[in-house]
Amino acid sequence: MRLLTPLLLACAFLLAWQPPVQAYLDPGSGSMLIQLLLGGVAGLAVILKLFWRRILDILHIGGHDRERPGDA
């Protein structure tokens, strides 16, 4: 019983986590980033968030961008 709760939690976490689907085509890192500038106002918000996350990354505050359940 003591084991059941963490096991259920782990299952729920795994089910919720969608593995990233990789494309057969290399989109190009620079070409992906440039799309933020081409996305209008919505792009600006994502840029700010992206930079904010990087600052937090550098300062080691909060979670990491690519943290996955298996990493824990």
Binding site: Y24, L25, G30, S31, M32, L33, L38, A42, G43
Partner: protein
Amino acid sequence: MPEAAVEPGSFRDRSARVFIQDDEVFRGLNERALEQWNALSATAFFRRFVAEGGLVGTERLDPAAGPVPAFAADWAAVLRHERIPFVSYPYEWSFGMLRDAALLQLDLLLAALDEGMTLKDASAYNVQWRGAKPVFVDIASFERRPPGEPWIGYRQFCQLFLYPLLLTAYRDIPFHPWLRGSLEGIDPESCLNMLGLGGRLRRGVLTHVYLQARAQAAYGSTKRDVKADLRAAGFDSALIKANATRLRKLIAGLTWKRGRSTWSEYTKCGHYEAADAEAKRRFVGRAAATGSRRLVWDLGCNTGTFSRIAAEHASYVVALDADHLAVERLFQSLKAENHTRILPLVGNLTDPSPDLGWRNLERKRLASRGRPDLVLALALIHHVVIGANVPLDEFVDWLADLGGDIVIEFVTREDPMVGVLLRNKEDQYADYQLDVFERCLRARCEILEREPLGSGTRVMYWARPRG
């Protein structure tokens, strides 16, 4: 059922593969591609685009309904596609054709995003033609958009659509040799160099070319998972829509402002006496109306006068000319008429489209894409023999080897157009004589009809290769 042949150009995306069997086109799908097909076929945009002709007609084969091809056993499902009459490639299209193909690609992307789907690539080779109408054929390119994913095909769209169009519109640089030289298209850095300093100030260049070139140089080899970063930062489909909508506006506004070209004014310049032109029309009409002509090639079609006559009788006409502007004008007039049975292509017989890509099998030469049962070669032979130095007997042999009937106009040395070609050249064309030509033709063909035109410098032949 006979063995199905794998389409050798369909290997890049491993989730699906194209097969040809009994003149029909099939696509095998793996489990993942089948899921995407199920999602796509349930959308409203799919039905709309198929009905309007922008997407190739497609149905899933039902094994319970009848025999299926043997290769179906290796796939989760098999689709059957409507057959496109003649395959062509972007390096054979005119400016307006590449632009319309680009707009179709963007319209499909925008429509797909509205229903939670996307296109996983943006290859210009995924577009084919029914006459002057573009058709998107790679059904397996559609997939449900993974949350947070940017437009994966953006760079490919730029390299194969946007940059070639910009170069022609802004700098009058023909895109054909560049696209034929690289199946991946034109990279941002090369495009930037060709556009030059002045070009950088033109609309769309700063962002789509300059910044993309710099971003690729700066981040192209980054170790960060940029896709994951963007997903975590909340990249959503509104960004792709904003980009695609702006690109659509930019591309729709691009024009190719080129002046008169050598041949596109040909029919307007009065090279033919009216009586000659009329006799020639009747001659071509008689040959085209005989039997059931499935595919006609009009080589050196200029603005398509005789392609149109052939199309009155034939199922499909491929109209080829080396003059880009003549082909562009033909395309624009066919488009205005909503013509779907003449395919205009830019191509030079003496520098023809080669077999290209992996194992030289991905993109094929013209004759490997469908042999004609009638070839028109009107006022062409002097350009091939005198203009391009091809021996006369080799040209006749090449025409006969195509296997179909030939309608050919011989332009004699007395014709002023031959005089123009010989003006600055040493006359080393002893073989360029009517009797030599006729001997070559008779050696390979039965001559069904021969008619000298009233001007006295041109003779029409209708010939049928033996055996």
